[in-house]
């Protein structure tokens, strides 16, 4: 039977080539993701090992809770003069004092280098003289900073900012911006900079002053004499320091922490890409299913003949499955190769976004190879299962009869199955979205997949009437009716081809609806809650280390044109068992600048141990005015706060708002990530703007926006993400189009005689092309219409579920979705190109000859 399988494959190489391409693309996407993230993990594991290779143990402040991977360093500072005590511990050979904080370089062109609000962090660190071998940085040029006027910078920033040793450079810190002389340019191990972050190195005393506080540091790194193990050194330090607020950990542990945080950050990225790879594979499986169904139908006589001459049912099934196995194997193997190439592209893409990744060879693990082959083969086999089963059921007598290709649909069974799948899918989706179960995305994913299979199963029932409606505008043309009829003649085939596109389009519609709704929600929050005329942004994000020096808000408020200005700070806290970023504001300014929708209490009177909470939290946790609420900080442990206000503007402020006095006492970062300003009465916007701009000229990282600009900036961020997701869905859409092209090609092969006849009785090539194109457009539109309907419904459900996350408005981007429709028509035309070419170049004589 293997010979039959192989012959079958070779006889139909073109149709299998397209099928293989679908699997190949999905596998390549998956393999590319694996190779890429494995390579990065491997590279950074090595780099972190390198960073602490000469360190034995680290002394740092104990942290009451760990805020998580997406927070910057939130640890309390320690006294730098602990160094004296540490030196007395036997076996200590070297000490390096670690100080880390916000520092941003200004390039030669006057623009700040890096954007911590949307990219890699901009950090300042201390260079401890005399402990060079413990430093993670190596000097590529120049020497370390020795005075309070000197800095060394990383090579990546030097390249970006066009800076050289000896140049004067402005550095932004929590203090006033000021100029330093560059004494050296460093690399982080083999990388130009750690993960693309911008690094400024100060001498220790300067670092303490501009990054932390004078006499305070983040950690003390200790090198040990040969023969003293990391554990021994840590034990000795613990005993010598005997301070419960400090912790001493081995360098191995710190290395692991660094590696783990990279792994965690990558895990999200990994999952994000793999979801899209999964979508591509899912869509590809429809293509495989359809191809094998059509091929089995077309080979019915041949397969029946095999049965007639003695092949068992199992043999026929195995021969069809064998073909799919081979297709899957070849496609997976090639896909793996393409995936490696894709990983190179991903690296380049990320570098373009500012995350420089050190060059190193690509890491193709056994896991990657195994997963690619297993996934590719499994998908191929699974999708061919049903067609193979059908092949097995072909009666031997079919070899003797002229049978119409493509059987009748069993309407009742199909309706019941389709409805059941749609119901189960919708149920899982709703559970995932609204039931508050653990791992809701698993439910949503499974629900969506089931729902789409349901659409595919029920599809043939509605394909005919839908095609009739969709094709109606075509039928005024002579060739249009033929095209529409062709799309309607085999609803199963049409529906299956369209289903692949339905999935892609539905997902496009879902994210379009989500994005539009989020944008409109943000706009409404800005409109209803922002009383400030201007906001200064660009320095960082909540929970980050960077921000504006508090002097900025003070200088703005001092302007006669400005009535009120305040900075917003953020920090990691743990309240009622969950960790979150909370905002801190100056209570005196809140009413001037925001409409926080106060429900109870008074925010302006909030004392340093007061806290404001959202109505939702008040309801959920049964909290009222005057209730005590314990809040844990990373720096200082748990403190009791009193609820002094309850507000409604949760999408603006989150669940908790602290007074800035509490932030000063307990937050690690004392920088404002945004500053809001309101103009004095009677001051024209332009006048106010130029006054503020004057102040901002000293802060090159600052971007001044009025309310409209701020809205647009927020929207632009969402659009960027949207663009990325469209790009990633593009692959699934491409596979769907290949599917349509493949179906058309197979149909044309099947209709050779009919096309020959049409040509013989006088259809021109142009007309024939129009017929094929028309059919393709009808199928593409069918898929698109189904996808748009399903996607908008799904988007509506998701937006409803996100209401508590601040997405309060449902917005359907009609014009955008209309564009999708237009693109579908174009896509249909493109997909028809190759099959139409084949059809028009058909040898008329051979097509009509019956010999």
């Amino acid at each position: 039977m293997w010979r039959v399988t192989l012959r079958g494959l070779f006889a139909h190489k073109v149709r299998y080539a397209l099928t293989a391409l679908a699997v190949l693309l999905g596998v390549a996407f998956m393999a590319g993701t694996f190779v890429f993230t494995d390579t990065i993990k491997h590279t950074f594991d090595g780099l972190f090992n390198d960073v602490y290779r000469n360190t034995s143990a680290v002394v740092r402040a104990k942290q009451p809770f760990t805020p998580g991977a997406n927070f910057s360093n939130q640890r309390r500072l320690i006294d730098a003069d602990l160094v004296t005590k540490v030196w007395q511990v036997p076996g200590v050979t070297d000490i390096s004092v670690g100080v880390e904080g916000y520092a941003q370089l200004v390039g030669r062109d006057g623009d700040a280098i890096g954007n911590p609000a949307a990219g890699a962090p901009t950090l300042g660190e201390a260079w401890t003289s005399g402990a060079d071998r413990m430093e993670p940085y190596r000097f590529a040029e120049g020497r370390p900073p020795r005075t309070h006027n000197e800095v060394a910078i990383d090579k990546h920033s030097a390249d970006v900012g066009n800076l050289e040793v000896g140049d004067r450079v402005t550095v932004l810190t929590k203090r006033q911006p000021r100029e330093y002389t560059i004494t050296g340019i460093v690399r982080w191990g083999t990388a130009d900079s750690p993960l693309g972050a911008s690094i400024t190195l100060f001498d220790l005393a300067t670092a303490e002053r501009v990054l932390a506080e004078p006499g305070r540091a983040d950690e003390i790194d200790v090198a040990a004499a040969p023969g003293v193990s990391q554990e021994q050194m840590a034990d000795r330090l613990r005993a010598a320091l005997a301070n419960p607020r400090l912790e001493v950990v081995t360098a191995t542990k710190v290395t692991q922490e660094g590696q783990t945080s990279i792994h965690q950050a990558l895990a999200f990225f990994d999952a994000f890409l793999l979801v899209f790879a999964g979508i591509a594979l899912f869509v590809g499986s429809f293509l495989i299913f359809n191809t094998f169904s059509i091929v089995v139908a077309q080979r019915m006589r041949e397969l029946a003949l095999l049965r007639a001459v003695g092949a068992s049912r199992a043999q026929v099934i195995v021969s069809v499955l064998g073909e799919s196995l081979l297709v899957g194997l070849v496609a997976s193997a090639v896909g793996l190769g393409v995936g490696v190439g894709l990983a190179v592209g991903l690296k380049a893409l990320l570098a373009a976004f500012g995350f420089a990744i050190p060059s190193s060879g690509l890491l193709v693990t056994f896991r990657t190879v195994l997963a690619s082959i297993v996934v590719g083969v499994t998908i191929s086999l699974a999708a061919a299962l049903m067609p193979a089963w059908k092949a097995g059921r072909i009666a031997p007598v079919a070899a003797m009869r002229d049978v119409e290709v493509g059987g009748e649909t069993r309407k009742v069974r199909r309706s019941v199955c389709g409805a059941a799948l749609l119901a189960v899918g919708a149920g899982l989706l709703l559970v995932g979205l609204f039931a508050g179960v653990p791992h809701p995305m698993t439910y949503v994913g499974a629900g969506a997949a089931t729902f789409f299979v349901g659409i595919a199963v029920a599809g043939p029932l509605i394909a005919r009437p839908l095609c009739r409606v969709i094709g109606a505008p075509l039928s005024w043309r002579r060739t249009g009716r033929l095209a529409r009829n062709n799309a309607m003649r085999n609803p199963k085939r049409t529906a299956a081809s369209a289903a692949a596109l339905t999935i892609g389009v539905a997902l496009v519609a879902v994210i379009s609806v989500m994005a539009a709704s989020t944008k409109s929600s943000i706009a409404s929050v800005v409109d209803s809650s922002m009383r400030a005329d201007f906001v200064v942004t660009g320095a960082g994000q909540p929970g980050g280390m960077s921000g504006f020096s508090p002097t900025l808000a003070r200088r703005l408020e001092a302007l006669p044109e400005v009535a009120s200005a305040t900075g917003i700070r953020s920090g990691a806290v743990r309240i009622s068992g969950s960790t979150s970023v909370v905002l801190a504001v100056d209570p005196r300014h809140v009413d001037d600048l925001f409409d926080i929708d106060l429900r109870q209490g008074d925010l302006t009177e909030m004392g340093s141990t007061g806290i404001a909470i959202s109505q939702q939290i008040a309801d959920a946790d049964h909290l009222g005015l005057g209730d005590r609420l314990p809040v844990a900080f990373t720096t200082s442990g748990t403190h009791d706060f009193t609820v002094q206000a309850i507000y409604g503007a949760r999408s603006l402020a989150g669940d908790y708002v602290l007074p800035v006095a509490a932030a000063r006492r307990h937050f690690r970062s004392q920088l404002d990530f945004q500053v809001y300003a309101r103009l004095a009465p009677g001051v024209a916007a332009a006048t106010g703007r130029s006054a503020i701009d004057q102040v901002l000229s000293g802060y090159p990282n600052a971007t001044l926006m009025d309310r409209t600009e701020y809205k647009h900036a927020q929207e632009a961020q969402i659009d960027q993400l949207l663009g990325l997701m469209y790009g990633l869905l593009g692959l699934a859409l491409l596979i769907a189009l290949i599917g349509i092209a493949n179906t058309l090609a197979l149909s044309i092969y099947e209709r050779t005689h009919e096309l020959g006849l049409l040509r013989a009785v006088g259809m021109t090539r142009r007309q024939l092309r129009a017929v094929v194109r028309g059919e393709s457009v009808v199928i593409a539109l069918l898929g698109t219409v189904q996808g748009l309907v399903a996607g908008v419904l799904l988007g509506w459900a998701v937006v409803t579920a996100l209401e508590s996350q601040g997405v309060t408005r449902l917005s359907v981007p009609v014009s955008q979705l209309a564009i999708v429709g237009v693109l579908a028509v174009l896509a249909g035309v493109v997909a028809a190109a190759a099959p139409a070419r084949r059809a028009t170049h058909l040898d008329v004589l051979r097509a009509i000859s019956h010999h």
Partner: protein, 256 residues
Amino acid sequence: MTTSVVRDEAREPVASHTAARIVDGVKIYGEGATLVRALDGVTADFATGEFCAVMGPSGSGKSTLLHCLAGLDHLTSGQVLIDDVDLSRLNDKAMTLIRRDRLGFVFQSFNLVPTLTAEENILLPLTLAGRKPDRGWFEALVTSLGIGDRLRHRPSELSGGQQQRVAMGRALITRPALIFADEPTGNLDSRAANDLLEQMRATVDELGQTVVMVTHDAHGASYADRLLFLADGQVVEELHAPDKDTILDTIRKLGD
């Protein structure tokens, strides 16, 4: 359209009594060892209003002759003239238009477009040309073909005989200069075959239609005005108003 002008001129009896003509037709397939001379210098005229049958053993070149006459295939050398138009000078598009406007076809099978109704199939050449059908002519055709009550049916809902009569209707709807029939009765039972042959005879007698039919059936050939015998790519015998016995005798004679 110029084609209608051409047709009207062609209808002038003085202009031409010859609907189609092949002069020194040579058709060679393959090369070297596999070279086949399917047509080896065929010259024949097909007069307007004549029912001409072509017979010959397999490989005699009768199908090739039909295909070349019908503009479905090009001669290697020689000339085919339809309405005095030299087909060898035409490109694919012009050839297609000649087929659409001047020629009609009836094949053994695969004769109708399955997604179209009988009426749409009959009107197909006009639809493709974007021309309005002459309703009177259409009504007359379907009535004489006896398919007036089947017009809304799809081919799969028609018997083989009915399908071939629909195909006849399609061939006739454009009032072509010439109808080519390629073994039109091959897939029909004897009653349906007789019906169809009567029908073809009637179009020649009553409408002055010209028909060229390839067949290997002596009974079918006996309906023709003239019968050409082909062997090895050449015309080897010609019979006028043949009867069945003469045909069978000739076949036997040629077979020796």
